[in-house]
Symmetry: C2
Subunit: 375 residues, 2 copies
């Protein structure tokens, strides 16, 4: 291998894949980054047991020139730290001795001991399989994942709840996540989707990483779902994630179909008030009191004090209500809603509160189970 590459391109690629490096893996090769220089460009790949990320830099003569092909796996942390400290524009990567990568940049020369590239896990190219394929605007995908993945469980006691359910049927894709107390659901219309229906449960952690890798530019993300894995592809990036096996709990009977009251409030006002009131909330429990024209928010902590805040209602339809819920959970939901106003539906003391971001698509729904309090 003999490759000339600009520092920016190299840093960008390494920065993308380093999220998938299995830092504490007992398998040494998974602590590395697989660099493969071919005639068409250089790929950088990192992999842990759950996710593989690959970033490809095409040979364009400007940011990259491949003078001799080759491949090696090198220790990620040292490589990243060394490159990061350099400020020379051009970096030369060369394999002169077997399994040793020489990095020359400006006045410095680094020799890194590597491992055999052939032993590194590769991204399956799916020969012989016929995966379900769909395409989505990257920005839309990013915002959808941000909204839904936030409510997935982080506890491994029920592994299925650490995933986000993707259910595709008749040109519509439904994403659902829940941790048992909260639920988020968003339905998107998919154009040009031709294959069969599918259900897949994708680890929320991997999904969040994928969405962070997507740039905000107006590009398209391709998604391929096969039996036990999902692949995301956009703009030189390929991410493969394992799927979670099992059946996602049915959420049909959980979402209240009718309601006793609906209120509409300004989102920014409400978020500020909930954040403020949650500071003083014992165990994060805050109380909402909806009257004819205001939503009162209250909380208290014994021996410390109490707080009361008011948000004006934009609309109110139905009866007044009082309910207690987890303020932190409410903040998570509001922070991830890109909209001007929020619709809140009350369906009775023991039913979950329905929160609907009032955006142009109206495709997102959140549930929060109320907390029972004594007084």
């Amino acid at each position: 291998m003999l490759v000339e590459i600009t520092k920016d391109s190299l840093m960008n690629a390494v920065h993308h894949v380093i999220k998938a490096v299995a830092v504490n893996s007992p398998i040494p090769i998974l602590q590395g980054i697989n660099i493969q220089a071919g005639a068409d460009g250089v790929s950088f790949t990192a992999s842990n047991t759950s996710m593989t990320i690959q970033s490809m830099i095409p040979q364009d003569g400007a940011s990259l020139t491949v003078k001799r092909t080759g491949a090696i796996v090198i220790p990620s942390r040292y490589f990243y730290d060394v490159i990061r400290k350099h400020d020379d524009e051009l970096v030369v990567l060369e394999i002169k001795e077997q399994l040793i990568l020489t990095i020359i940049s400006g006045h410095s020369q680094i020799r890194l001991c590597g491992m055999d590239s052939a032993e590194f896990p590769y991204i399956d190219n799916g020969e012989g399989l016929s995966p379900s394929k769909l395409q989505m605007n990257s920005a839309l995908f990013r915002s959808t994942v941000k909204q839904v993945a936030i409510v997935a469980s982080t506890s491994e006691t029920r592994p299925i709840l650490t995933g986000v359910s993707f259910e595709c049927h008749n040109n519509s894709l439904n994403l659902i996540a829940t941790d048992g107390v909260r639920l988020a659901s968003r339905t998107l219309h998919i154009e040009g989707y031709t294959n069969d229906s599918f259900n897949a449960i994708i680890p929320a952690k991997n999904l969040s990483e994928v969405s962070k890798l997507l740039s905000d530019a107006d590009e398209t993300t391709e998604i391929e779902v096969s039996n036990n894995r999902v692949k995301f592809m956009a703009n030189g990036l390929k991410v493969e994630s394992a799927l979670i096996e099992g059946t996602f709990p049915s959420t049909k009977n959980v979402i209240p179909q009718s309601y006793l009251c609906e209120i509409l409030v300004d989102k920014a006002c409400l978020l500020k008030a909930v954040e403020c009131v949650t500071v003083m909330a014992s165990e994060n429990i805050i109380r909402l009191v909806a009257t004819a024209d205001t939503l009162k928010l209250l909380s208290r902590t014994a021996e410390i004090g109490d707080i009361e805040n008011e948000v004006p209602l934009l609309k109110m339809r139905g009866e007044e209500f009082i309910i207690s819920l987890n303020g932190k959970f409410f903040i998570d939901i509001l922070r991830n809603s890109d909209c001007e106003s929020i619709r809140i539906r009350y369906a009775g003391k023991t039913s979950p509160i329905v929160v609907l971001p009032d955006d142009s698509l109206m495709s997102t729904l959140f549930l929060i189970t109320p907390v029972r309090t004594h007084n």
Copy 2:
């Protein structure tokens, strides 16, 4: 107490004093902030056993109006978090019921349970004592503390080394700190200093906090040293710190008086090179090789690899040398030197390396003890 105050002034004052709050103190009152509203303004005070910080906002009719005097100690964390979340410009602080502070801001009302202000430690006004007094430009004081305090020890095994020695004698102030491996010393000329000589050892941690509180503006810091404490005053701020008892180790025989070689290098180049080489350094040990026109930096980690970097010499006087030292320590020193170039003096294999920032004052000296290596 009934006080109207702008959010910015309030946040600023609380932000200053919160560093001295004893968050985990078994004495509940030390977890609080003492608010005292008098005819001339409102003071905010926080104190742990080692340091007390007081920020005073004068009554000017614009940012603060005191309508009724009074005092209360309130829980710092809740107060800070609640005020921070508000975006209303004006905050009203009022004591309506005994030991309860009511905070009204915009649409929210908070009641915080407080404690008796009379039980809070106060900053000694020094009646009956005649402290040594001196004045210094705040920016100069800040940069001096930054340079010297960084090498103080953080281990409590020898408490005296966690302090910075202030030695004032004949209009000159000498600051020294050392952790046994490194040493930093800076001598400043003090104008208008009239009192007797003094020696004081100030905890480096407190000193760093003080220097962070000082703004970069062209103001003056007053320092008052009495028997067992030191007071810093600048721009409405008062900080009082306990002193460390004992005698600071003599450093006279530690600093080499003659040298075999002196080199001059560009600071930015050297810092970049040391940072880069230290990444690959086993136990942070890097090797410096000074030849006629370059300084070579080398390091290696077994089974990972090695690195070599070069910095051109601006000047070289004396014999070539090779020495090994702790790269992290070298980085600390270089990062805190505001100068174009660095002078390095070599006085033999077993003598400490002398590092002199080549700035206009030429008043700072660093020592690093070399590491003995086998090859």
